[in-house]
């Protein structure tokens, strides 16, 4: 069967199980769009190519599959850069397909030509230019393998217009992936394994550091068995949230810069850290010189380049988290850590049991109230997609996730503008799930044009803007570290309710605590997208906070003021 390159691409994507493509057309990708129109693939027209990449990313993270984004050459392709870097930092498997000028004029500064493979080399797991129609199907299949294998990441395939237009015989079996033979260096070192087992069985104060890798490897059940076998307390990274139920008594909560005090103290006092699928990011460790000085460290990680990168470890088990844990769990003999767990609970004090809802309604609306009520109203079962900043940290602190892949957020790159498009992608991945976008007034204004995408696609998303009139996290740093000189952080926003209405989206403004739950309830009952504009306290801060570069135990604690005492921790 002879097909054009564009048709081959669509056929290959269909056979790879793709249903939706998030994209934006243009000259160099037009042949593909023509073929898309004749295919069964559903194209979601975005309003900016950055949105397309975040949607693909949100799709991938919510589904566990691969998200696909598409753009034309030149500006279309360069607009994808931020989304690609976001996916790279958070190991999210997306495949970006860009059109490129014809191979005959490559390198001639043709109209809308840009070296997108050169530009994205350091921020993709792999990228490739296709100039021959015969290579399209195999390259796309390889891109899907690469994006998802081992530590996942973004792959960009740049296809010249002449390759899209030319015809070739299409034979699916003949274009199986032919990737270079690689040596897979999983750790089969028995000595290292034995050392890990010995550390596990001699530790008195172990803490497990659970990261995104547990989700990626599909190790949820294996991980739980491991935790139960050793009776280990679990601290989570931001992207690890959801890999272990928040309601489980062994789950301490999030660690790091805005982790709860008892979690960070437990890490500093531990005699063994078992890090699984996490990479000791600086936001997690604080000052490396004082980080977990009393602890030996076991690092279970699929990416060899992460071993000893930031923190020197005593036993490194390189491999897939599920495989390694399956091998490790049967060797656990010591499981009595009750004294240690009791001690951690003492560190918690009454801060964990205090209920935010019993706080007096002082007439002030705090972001923590909103997140807390959202959690209660949705029974902690919604998929929450957050942006970056204060609201992101409050969400991580007050929305208690019990299921994997229910918190979707830009961790490593910290990309503002991520939430709305990623939320759209997540909704396409999980059309039957309730998806909430929680976003600040700053980040929302970066990608709010995607509201039009929501309307055009008729999807049912819930949007909660945590609106404090500031670029809140930056303002907080200015408050703490720059003597309250609020330079460029006060933020004028449009009337979000009127704005949403202009797009044809239902919206409501909420200014008091009493209105929060009813507004969430009404939004949940609606069968269409609803936007809620929560006007919260302007100069609230996220506590506790480890200042950048400070020791992990050196936290700025919540002030004891009933006005700002918004949390379950005092």
């Amino acid at each position: 069967m002879k097909l054009s390159g564009a048709e081959i691409l669509c056929e290959a994507l269909t056979r790879l199980g793709v249903r939706e493509i998030f994209g934006y057309p243009g000259g160099a990708i037009l042949p593909v769009y023509d073929a898309l129109g004749k295919s069964k693939l559903h194209h979601v027209l975005v309003r900016h190519e950055q949105g397309a990449t975040h949607m693909a990313d949100g799709y991938a993270r919510a589904s566990g599959g691969i998200g696909v984004a598409m753009a034309t050459s030149g500006p279309g392709a360069t607009n994808m850069v931020t989304g690609i870097a976001t996916a790279m930092m958070d190991s999210s498997p997306i495949v970006c397909i860009t059109g490129q000028v014809s191979s005959k004029v490559l390198g001639s500064d043709a109209f809308q030509e840009t070296d997108i493979t050169g530009i994205t080399m350091p921020i993709t797991k792999h990228n490739v230019v296709v100039t021959h129609v015969e290579d399209i199907a195999r390259t796309i299949r390889e891109a899907f393998v690469i994006a998802k294998s081992r530590r996942p990441g973004p792959v960009l395939v740049d296809i010249t217009k002449d390759a899209q237009q030319a015809s070739a015989e299409f034979d699916w079996d003949a274009c199986a992936p032919k990737l270079p033979p690689k040596r897979i260096r999983n750790n089969h070192d028995q000595a290292e394994f034995d050392r890990a087992v010995e550390l596990l069985n001699t530790a008195k104060r172990p803490v497990v550091l659970a990261g995104h890798g547990i989700m990626i490897s599909g190790a949820i059940r294996t991980f739980e068995q491991f935790i139960r076998a050793g009776n280990y307390p679990v601290a989570m990274t931001l992207l690890g949230i959801g890999c272990f139920p928040a309601k489980d008594p062994l789950n301490l909560g999030m660690m790091g810069m805005h982790g709860e005090a008892w979690v960070n103290h437990a890490i500093q006092e531990a005699d063994l850290l078992i890090a699984i699928g996490m990479r000791f990011d600086d936001r997690v460790t604080g000052d490396l010189r004082t980080y977990a000085k009393n602890a030996r460290k076991i690092h279970i990680e699929i990416d060899r380049a992460e071993i000893n990168k930031n923190v020197k470890v005593d036993a490194a088990l390189v491999g897939d988290a599920r495989e390694v844990l399956e091998n490790l769990t049967p060797h656990i003999q010591t499981r009595d850590h009750s004294a240690w767990i009791r001690h951690i609970h003492e560190l918690k004090g009454d801060s964990a049991v205090r209920d935010i809802q019993s706080l007096p309604d002082t007439g002030h609306l705090y972001a923590a109230h909103v997140i807390n009520d959202l959690w209660k109203e949705t029974h902690g079962e919604a998929i929450v997609v957050t942006d970056v900043g204060q609201h992101q940290m409050w969400e991580a602190q007050y929305y208690h996730h019990n299921c994997p892949r229910t918190l979707i957020t830009s961790g490593g790159l910290g990309t503002m503008g991520f939430a709305l498009p990623a939320g759209i992608g997540a909704k396409f991945a999980k059309p039957d799930s309730e998806v909430w976008v929680v976003v600040g007034d700053g980040g929302f204004q970066m990608t709010m044009s995607e509201l039009a995408t929501i309307v055009q696609e008729k999807i049912n998303l819930k949007i909660a803007i945590i609106n404090n009139g500031y670029l809140g996290m930056v303002r907080q740093w200015q408050e703490f570290f720059y003597d309250k000189r609020y330079v460029a952080t006060p933020l004028v926003a449009p009337d979000f309710v009127a704005l949403a209405n202009a797009f044809g989206i239902r919206a409501e403004r909420i200014t008091t605590r009493a209105e929060v739950s009813p507004s969430i309830r009404a939004a949940r009952e609606a069968t269409e997208t609803v936007l809620l504009d929560f006007r919260v306290e302007q100069e609230d801060s996220v506590y506790p906070m480890v200042p950048a570069g400070a020791s992990l135990h050196d936290m700025i604690r919540r002030p004891h003021s009933p006005l700002v005492e918004t949390a379950s921790d005092a």
Binding site: L16, V18, G64, G65, K148, S149, R183, I184, I220, N308
Partner: protein
């Protein structure tokens, strides 16, 4: 200084990826040589980098994450044979020429081009040996020099070969379905 050997796909852009990776890791490359292997689809690189053991580990592991890099190995701590090749054009007149020839003999270098005012000397060996020759040539006037950069090979039975094509081939295709 750390020495790494890598087998890479012999195709355009791979050198760029390798160099770009070193740049991204802020590792300064002292020398990088690429040449063909017995298998025309595979090239062999020797990378000498200004870094410590930890940096070399990161470079090695990060190199292996590149799709086009089949194997990367830090051989700094192993028994290694290292060679560098240099062409040195040195000023030579009738008077000092005999003295120059003596030195060349001592260093087991050879003269590959003779002109009235200069000689081209070819020398191969360890970096130290070539640096040593340079040192003694300098007073005569080194007019031009071209060096290849180091190539390296582990000694004896310590073999460093590319993986066989059928060893770990990733032909698995992931289904684009939900999985957790």
């Amino acid at each position: 200084m750390q020495t790494l050997v890598a087998y890479v796909e012999n195709k355009p852009g791979v050198l760029n990826r390798v160099a770009s990776l070193a740049r991204r890791l802020a590792i300064n490359i002292d020398s990088l040589t690429v040449g063909p292997t017995e298998n025309e689809e595979i090239a062999r690189m020797t990378i000498v980098a200004h870094t410590d053991e930890r940096g070399a580990h990161r470079l090695e592991a990060s190199l292996e994450k590149l799709v086009d890099v089949l194997v990367a190995e830090n051989i700094s701590s192993r028994a290694v044979l290292e060679r560098d090749l240099a062409l040195i054009k040195v000023a030579a007149d009738q008077q000092n020429r005999p003295h120059l020839m003596e030195l060349i003999k001592v260093f087991r270098a050879r003269v590959v081009d003779v002109a009235p005012e200069s000689l081209i000397i070819e020398v191969s060996g360890t970096v130290d040996k070539i640096d040593g020759l340079l040192e003694v040539l300098r007073p005569f006037g080194v007019l031009e020099m071209a060096r290849t950069g180091r190539i390296a090979m582990t000694r004896g039975s310590d073999l460093l070969q590319p993986p066989s094509p059928d060893a770990e081939n990733s032909t698995l295709e992931p289904a684009n379905s939900s999985a957790t």
